[in-house]
């Protein structure tokens, strides 16, 4: 059903759609990031994709799944991040828009103006992966604190690295420490 949507999308925007694929029954359209907003606006207004489901990112650093040939593995030349927008239409069709973002320039146009529900989810994606959403009205960290350095869900963030805000360095609170002195 949504295969028709993919075909219509490719016919309407041949310059914007990189490729389309079906993965596990879901339709995925890879969109060039310069054309994302016009494609999304057309999908919402003309095809009835009015329900925003989620937006998230995928970090493909050192991605080597078992069973795939080495040509599919991640290497330095491929874009490191993928941003996925999942949409659902009034007729219950599912469509996922994917945008590739390289490591040096992880910028993706924001869809928060089209679907206000994406506002906080894009902030979360920025918080966890450091994807910059161009045109987002208020791109700040949403879960973590302002003092946090780095993006914890990136593959190169150390697994147990904590960035404490407060610790018991006040010795008056800790009689045991004072005794050892």
């Amino acid at each position: 059903m949504a295969k028709q949507v993919l075909d219509a999308l490719t016919a309407k925007f041949p310059h914007a759609v990189d490729r389309t694929e079906m993965t596990y029954g879901d339709e995925v359209a890879w969109i060039k990031r310069d054309h994302l907003v016009e494609v999304a606006k057309w999908l919402r207004d003309e095809l009835g994709f009015v329900f925003p489901v989620f937006v998230t990112a995928i970090d493909r650093l050192d991605w080597k799944p078992i069973g795939l040939p080495p040509s599919e593995h991640w290497n330095e030349d491929k874009p490191r991040f993928e941003v996925a927008y999942q949409l659902r239409s009034k007729t219950n069709q599912r469509l996922r828009l994917k945008i590739a973002a390289p490591e040096q320039d992880p910028r993706v146009p924001s869809l928060a103006e089209l679907w206000p529900a994406f506002n906080w989810q894009e902030r979360e994606t920025f918080d966890m992966y450091g994807i910059r959403f161009d045109g987002h009205p208020d791109l700040r960290r949403i879960y973590l604190y302002e003092e946090f350095v780095g993006y914890p869900l990136r593959k190169d963030y150390p697994k147990e690295k904590r960035q404490p805000l407060v610790r018991r360095d006040d010795l008056a609170l800790n009689p045991l420490k004072k005794e050892v002195r």
Partner: protein
């Protein structure tokens, strides 16, 4: 500095004999009127409710009355995971409580961080404030909580809570300085 920070039961008994009547009486009063501040952040709160409810009945130990203001409570129960972002709030709540005050780390997340060994979870709330009694378990059984309360009451009676030791210690240091 001659302050014992950990003692055996026998030494406790000797201390009990040495305690003044006033100290003994005030500690007795304190241990049976623990006003709880439940710092409930996670699923352990369900277990806390069951302990506070009629079946296990924390009221038998005089600790049934949760005060939702740290200024009116003297037992801080940290129930659930503490994240690094919550650290300043937790310290502030602890600082607002009036002396003497006691802290119970309820459940394995509050005690050690539990299975959250990652960027956001604090590895035990004792990184920020001193804890008197740790309750393991995910979540702990209500019997464990009652056992911890009894342990804490024992400590209060013998003047071995963190805040009691601290006060005693400060008194001793002041006395030493005066000499």
């Amino acid at each position: 500095m001659g302050v014992e920070l950990s003692t055996t039961r026998l030494e406790d008994a000797a201390k009990w004999a040495k305690q003044s009547l006033l100290e003994r009486g005030s500690n007795w009063g304190r241990k049976f009127s623990l006003f709880t501040y439940p710092f409930v952040t996670a699923c352990c709160g369900m277990e806390f409710m069951s302990v506070a409810g009629p079946k296990y009945d924390l009221a038998r130990f005089g600790a049934e009355f949760p005060r939702f203001s740290p200024r009116q409570s003297d037992l801080l129960m940290i129930v659930g995971t503490i994240t690094e972002k919550q650290g300043p709030a937790l310290k502030r709540v602890f600082d607002q409580m009036a002396e003497p005050k006691w802290v119970i780390a309820f459940g394995v997340c509050a005690s050690t961080g539990g299975f959250y060994q990652n960027y956001h979870a604090m590895p035990g709330c004792d990184q920020v404030i001193p804890v008197d009694v740790y309750i393991p378990g995910c979540p702990p059984r209500p019997e464990q909580v009652l056992d911890a309360i009894i342990l804490l009451m024992d400590r209060i009676q013998h003047g071995r809570g963190h805040s009691q030791l601290r006060t005693k210690r400060e008194d001793l240091i002041a006395a030493e300085r005066e000499e």
